[in-house]
Symmetry: C2
Subunit: 407 residues, 2 copies
C-alpha cells in the first residue's frame, strides 16, 4: 500500500475513521505532532465556556460541590486507568509529569533504603534525567545513565530503582516494558515507567506488566491541552506503603477537616498535593471522552500500519533521510523519526506547507502518528510534501534557517 | 457610618468603585468569599475562548512560539512582582502553592545546613504545616508549631527557617512581617512567607521587608480561577545560591537544548519544573490585568473601612457572635471572622440568601472583603441578611444542617 488510491481505500475501510471528526483540526494542516501537543477535541470549547462562565462565574466557590470540581481529578483518573490497564483507584491526576516523577521516584527509593543505584538510559526525556539526578544527589545514590540497549545488564543487586520512559521521545524506540520490569524485580529493584509517549497511543497494561510506579503526560496522546495535568500510578501492592515526599492538603485523609497533623489519604490519593488547576483539568477530562469505547488494540494496529507506510514511502522516495525508528513493531512507539543534517530547515519548510512535525537537535525530524485523527492519505500527502520540499531545495529559503526557537 | 444611606454615599465616593464592573458577579449575590476563590474577571471568557479555539485549536504546537505560551509564566510573574513589592525577575509562576512552598523551604533549610529547627505557628494553613512536617522529617529537623503570638520568642540560634502565612486563613489575624523577619535574621535564620491571603488584598513589600522566600496563591485575591497556578519569590541576594529540590526542564538554563545534564537557569527561573498548565495560566494572566494602575494603598484603605464597618455592625446588631478578627488595623488582613456554635448552618442559610461567605470548623464564619468588587452597601446588606437569618432562626431549617461538605 504505497499509492494514493490505496491510501484512500484504507481510510475508507478504517474503523477508527469517524473519530477524526471528534477533533477540530485546521483544514489545511496534516498534524503529525500529537506526540508533542494533541489537538483540540471538538466538545472542549463549549465545555470550557461552561466551566468558565457558569461554574466559575455564576457558581463561584459553590462549584467545588455543585459542579463537582472536588471529584474532577478522580474522574480524570478513572478515564486514564482504563487506558493504561490500571485497576480502579490506582491513578492520581494533577501536577506536571516532572513533579509526579519526583514523587514516585522519591517514594520508590524510600522503599529500597539500603541500595545504592538508580538505573536509567540516555534515551530518557531530559526532564526525567534532571529529576532523577536531583533525587539521587539528595539521597546520596548514584544515577547510572546507560545506553537503552544496556539497561537490563546494568541492573544489579544494589539497584534500588529502574526509571525509564517506555518510548524514546527522539527516536520512537520502545522498550520491552515486561522484560525490563521483570529484570528489575529479579534483582529486587522497583520499576518506574514514564508513559508520556505511550498512554493513549497504544494499549498499556501496567498491572499485567507488574509495574510498580508510573507517570504520564496529559497533553500528548491524551489531547488534554497545553500543559494539561500529568498523572501517576501506584501498584495496588504498594498503595498503603508508599509515601509522597510532598505532603499537601489534597493528599490528606480529610483535607477539609483542616487538621494540624498530616495523615495520608488512602492509596494513590496521597499522591495529590495542592488544589488542582481546575480549568486545565476540565479540558483534560472532556478530551478523554474521545476514548470512550475505543479499542486500543485497533488503535495500535492502525498506528503500526501508518508508521509502516511512512517508513516504506520514505525508504522508497527519500534516500537522503536515515530512518531512526526501529522497523520491528514491538520496538516502535507511535512516531517515526528521521535523521537529516538540514533537519531544522526541512521541518520549517514542511510546516509552511501545512505538514506539522517537529525537530529535535541536532538532526532529528519527528513525525507522530496519532491514529485517532491521522489517516493513510494524510501520511501519503506528508511524504509527498516532504519530497517537494527536498526536490526543489525549498528548505534552503532563508526564512527556514535555524534561529533560537522552541517547540 | 452604619446606616444604609451612608453606605450608599461611601460607594458613590469610592474611587475604586469602577473596578467592580470589571468582574462578572451574579446580580443576586454578595460575594464575601474572594479570600477562597476570586470571581470571574469580565474579559477572561473571551480570552479563554481565544486561547482554546485559536491558540490551541488552530495554532496547535506552533502557539508555544506564535501565541507566546513560552513566555506566559514570566508575563504573569511580572504582574505579581508589581503587587508584592518584588524586583523584576524575582518571581516564578507555576505549580500549586503547596509545591512552591516545598521548593522554597527545602531550599531555605539547604542554606542553613547546621541548624535543627523550623518554626511555624498553629495559625498556618494546614497544607503549609503538612509540607513543613514532611520537609522536616526528611531532613531530620524539628518542626516547632507554636501559638502565633509566640513565634518571635521561639526563634533561636538553632533555627534554620521561620515559615509563616502572613494572614491567618481562619481568623484574619495578620503577622508583623517586618518584625518577624527581622527576628529571624537576627538569629541567622531565613524567613519564608506564604502570601496566600495577602497578595492582591493589600500592599505587600517583600523587598522592603527583606523577605528571603515567599509563595502565594493565584486563585484568591488574584482572581485567577479555580486552582490557578501559584507563585514563588526568591530574594535577589539568594538568586544564584538557591536550589530547587525538584529539577525539571523548565528550570534548566536551556530547556530546549534537551541536554542530558542539568544546569539550573538563572535566578528564580530555576524554580520552574515542568510544562505549565497554559489554560489556567492564561486565565490568571488575564485576571491580573484588573490590577493595572490600581493603587494598593487605596485598596488597603477601603479594605479597612469595609472590615471596620462590618465589625461595627456585627458588634451593634449581632451580640451572639464573637468577633475573632483583631480590631487593630495593623493586625488585620482583608477578612472578618466570627465565631458561633451554629456557624455551619448560619453560613448555609446566608448562602441561600445570596450572601456567600464560608465556614471553617469547628465554629468560624469567614467573610472576605475584596475591595475591588465589594462595596459598602454590600457590607451593610450582608449584615442585614445575617440579622434576618438570626432573628427568624432560619438557620434551623433542616436543609442547612451540617452534612459532609467541602468549600
Amino acid at each position: 500500500m504505497t499509492g494514493r488510491e490505496e491510501c484512500q481505500t484504507a481510510d475508507r475501510d478504517d474503523a477508527l475513521r469517524a473519530l477524526r471528526d471528534r477533533f477540530r483540526l485546521p483544514p489545511d494542516v496534516i498534524y503529525l505532532d500529537g506526540n508533542s501537543l494533541g489537538p483540540l477535541v471538538e466538545t472542549v470549547p463549549d465545555r470550557m465556556t461552561s466551566a468558565v462562565e457558569r461554574e466559575w462565574g455564576e457558581g463561584l466557590i459553590r462549584s467545588w460541590n455543585t459542579a463537582g470540581w472536588i471529584d474532577l481529578a478522580e474522574g480524570v483518573a478513572a478515564r486514564i486507568e482504563a487506558l493504561i490497564g490500571a485497576p480502579q483507584t490506582t491513578v492520581a491526576v494533577g501536577d506536571s509529569t516532572s513533579v509526579n516523577l519526583f514523587k514516585v521516584v522519591e517514594a520508590a527509593i524510600g522503599l529500597r533504603p539500603d541500595r545504592r543505584f538508580v538505573v536509567t538510559d540516555r534515551g530518557n526525556f531530559p526532564t526525567d534525567l534532571y529529576v532523577l539526578s536531583g533525587v539521587c544527589q539528595r539521597a546520596g545514590l548514584v544515577l547510572e545513565v546507560v545506553e537503552p540497549t544496556d539497561v537490563i545488564e546494568a541492573i544489579c543487586d544494589d539497584t534500588a530503582v529502574v526509571s525509564l520512559t517506555e518510548v524514546d521521545y527522539r527516536t520512537g524506540r520502545r522498550h520491552d516494558m515486561r522484560r525490563v520490569t521483570e529484570a528489575a524485580h529479579s534483582a529486587g529493584a522497583l520499576a518506574v515507567w514514564d508513559l508520556a509517549h505511550s498512554a493513549g497511543a497504544f494499549p498499556v497494561d501496567v498491572a499485567e506488566n507488574a509495574v510498580d510506579f508510573a507517570v504520564g503526560c496529559g497533553y500528548k496522546y491524551l489531547n488534554g491541552g497545553p500543559g494539561a495535568p500529568g498523572f501517576l500510578y501506584v501498584a495496588p501492592g504498594l498503595a498503603d506503603g508508599w509515601s509522597n515526599p510532598i505532603r499537601g492538603w489534597f493528599g490528606h485523609a480529610r483535607p477539609f477537616a483542616f487538621e494540624l497533623e498530616f495523615e495520608p489519604a488512602e492509596g494513590v490519593i496521597r499522591g495529590q498535593i495542592g488544589t488542582p488547576p481546575i480549568l486545565s483539568m476540565v479540558a483534560l477530562h472532556e478530551s478523554l471522552s474521545v476514548f470512550d469505547g475505543v479499542d486500543l488494540v485497533a488503535v495500535r494496529a492502525k498506528s503500526l500500519a501508518l508508521t509502516d507506510l511512512f517508513i516504506e514511502l520514505v525508504g522508497e522516495y527519500l534516500p537522503d533521510f536515515t530512518i531512526v525508528t526501529p522497523r520491528e513493531h514491538e520496538r516502535r512507539g507511535s512516531q517515526v523519526s528521521l535523521r537529516h543534517p538540514e533537519g531544522y530547515s526541512i521541518v520549517q519548510a514542511l510546516i509552511a506547507r501545512g505538514v506539522i512535525g517537529d525537530f529535535r537537535a541536532p538532526d532529528i525530524l519527528r513525525f507522530g502518528f496519532a491514529p485517532l485523527y491521522v489517516g493513510f492519505e494524510d501520511t501519503f500527502r506528508a511524504v509527498e510534501q516532504l519530497r517537494e520540499v527536498m526536490s526543489g531545495e525549498e528548505w534552503r529559503d532563508p526564512r527556514f534557517a535555524a534561529v533560537a526557537r522552541v517547540t
